[in-house]
Symmetry: C2
Subunit: 155 residues, 2 copies
């Protein structure tokens, strides 16, 4: 069925981030759309970002394009250029390899709902978190000196 029945898709706030970086995304509830829809060439998540939550730690990808479509509510985009308010109908694009760490922060008192789409080989991806002592690759997370965190990236 091409029209996704969002309510029937399980949602979770799980994260693979090691502590203490996990708490900032506790209010990020998401539904992974690609597996239930049969998509194999892109990733897609329907995300409800509760007041106060981050969409992720501020990060960028070497190997994946990202696109975010804001469906409802408001948030603040934080990247190397500063802070930009975003809301319904806005589209945010983050090209693979552009070293501009970014995330969304919901500073409003209502949920912000968006769809996040990614494309590019996940198993060849890696990236960095400019604000914290962490980098990622396909296997998981490491400190910037190369020592690994035990946490694994979630599928």
């Amino acid at each position: 069925m091409p029209k996704l029945d969002l309510a029937s898709i399980p949602h979770t706030n799980a994260t693979g981030y090691p502590p203490p970086f996990d708490t900032a995304v506790e209010g990020r509830w998401y539904r992974r759309l690609a597996p239930v829809a049969g998509l194999t060439l892109m990733g897609a998540s329907h995300v409800t970002l509760l007041p106060g939550a981050f969409s992720s730690q501020r990060h960028w990808h070497r190997g994946q394009d990202e696109l975010v479509v804001i469906l409802d509510g408001e948030a603040v985009l934080i990247d190397d250029a500063g802070e930009t308010p975003v809301g319904r109908g806005d589209i945010l694009a983050f090209p693979a390899g552009e070293a501009n760490g970014h995330h969304l922060h919901n500073r409003s008192d209502t949920p912000c709902v968006f769809v996040a789409i990614s494309a590019g080989a996940r198993e060849a991806d890696s990236g960095e978190y400019p604000d914290i002592d962490m980098v990622f690759d396909a296997a998981g997370y490491a400190r910037k000196d190369g020592t690994r965190y035990e946490a694994r990236r979630l599928p």
Copy 2:
């Protein structure tokens, strides 16, 4: 700039469809987002479908996943299963290789606005139009007996 300035991106209703298949999409106005955003691993278009217009001829792709996010207005999804009303906040997914011809038809009296995202190698893509005497591949359009139309697919 990750937040796209949609108003500054040129829009067009151009199509590569050969006549008489081009008239049904005259009311499909779109902005190609990937080139201006620097995305290379996905395609993305912001589409305003005027009353009466089709989003495309009913088609499916062998080599590309497609995702559609409805931002505003209403349309009817037409596919092999029949007709399904869609509107703001709905998400439609069309996996590569699934031979389920689909398109949107705006039967309302206001524009329907959506974002269409694709992933997968365009140069290896091909597909079919179940309702008309046409198939496509990377180079362009052909009749089902293999003879080519002169029209070329637009980038």
